[in-house]
């Protein structure tokens, strides 16, 4: 395998770990009366750039079965389990439902779920950067 390809396999798994982080810690949806309370990515707390671990080593184990076992999206389950175990060890109590913040107070104000649907904001030029 060329160096570049090996590097990209590793980086690919970083993405799966990022997924596992969100799934365990914060990325859930609340279904209430047939509508999700989460109205945007600022409500559904999927991993964002500031949550990415500063250091991370991904070790791709040699195959033992000759069939695909853990690469790509398969890796999400593995990384989620790893994050959950790490969280459990750090806190001394194994979490049993995910994301762990799901039953806590909502971290946002839900948008209205009855029409009219709110229009897009109009203050975009106040946030040029």
């Amino acid at each position: 395998m060329a160096d570049g390809a090996a590097r990209n396999v590793g980086l690919g798994h970083l993405a799966q770990l990022v997924d596992g982080l969100g799934q365990v810690l914060s990325y859930g949806l609340h279904l209430e009366k047939g509508a999700y309370l989460e109205g945007s990515w600022d409500n559904a707390f999927y991993t964002r750039q500031w949550n990415v671990p500063p250091e991370l080593d991904v070790i791709v184990m040699p195959t033992t079965t000759g069939v695909p076992g853990g690469a790509g999206e398969f890796g999400v389950g593995t990384s989620m389990a790893a994050v959950a175990c790490a969280y459990g060890r750090a806190n001394g109590k194994m979490p049993t439902s995910f994301p762990i913040n799901h039953d806590g107070p909502l971290g946002f104000e839900p948008l209205p779920t009855v029409p009219p649907i709110p229009q897009s904001p109009t203050d975009g030029l106040d946030h040029v950067h």
């Binding site: 990209n8 980086l11 690919g12 970083l14 993405a15 799966q16 770990l17 990022v18 997924d19 969100g22 109205g39 945007s40 990515w41 600022d42 999927y46 991993t47 964002r48 750039q49 500031w50 990415v52 500063p54 991370l56 229009q119 897009s120 904001p121 109009t122 203050d123 975009g124 030029l125 946030h127 040029v128 950067h129």
Partner: protein, 160 residues
């Protein structure tokens, strides 16, 4: 219907559209420029990030009537020309690092990255981890680590 005019990727364009239509829909549906992606329409996901006069902004949250005739709007389609090349150095870095997974957020990520590097260079400093942590663009595939690496590589190739 009111007429609006502005500079899009180096060319003056005119559109007949209601004042309160957000610029993203003018770009995508009226002018057929589909690089800026619709994600949330709430200025949250940043998938539609473009540049206005060289700085990043989100056209989903700007009524077309707020855009002045002299405003220069640059979408991902116009980014290479802004560097006078076939591809902008940030796009080259993206390809080299093989950043994209599904790719939907990537035009916005690249536009945000270029604006961030320009901002840091204007302040006479290198891109820092704090700068990268400040990027709000969502990537649901989780390619964040690759995005960070590509931005640092692209920044090294961007002339201040």
């Amino acid at each position: 219907m009111p007429t609006h005019t502005f500079i899009l990727n180096g060319k003056q364009v005119r559109v007949d559209v209601e004042d309160d239509v957000r610029l993203l829909w003018v770009l995508r549906d009226v002018l057929g420029v589909t690089g800026p992606k619709y994600g949330c329409g709430l200025d949250v996901c940043k998938a539609c990030t473009c540049h206005i006069n060289g700085k990043a902004f989100n056209p989903c949250s700007v009524p077309v009537s707020d855009i002045k005739p002299s405003d220069e709007i640059t979408t991902i389609e116009g980014l290479p020309a802004s560097a006078g090349k076939e591809l902008h150095p940030m796009q080259e870095a993206w390809l080299e690092m093989d950043v994209a997974q599904c790719g939907y957020c990537q035009p916005g990520q690249i536009m945000a990255a270029v604006a961030l590097v320009r901002e840091a260079q204007a302040a006479g400093r290198e891109i820092s981890d704090a700068d990268l942590d400040g990027i709000r663009n969502v990537c649901r595939c989780g390619t964040y680590p690759r995005i960070r690496q590509a931005i640092q590589q692209g920044a090294a190739q961007m002339s201040p």
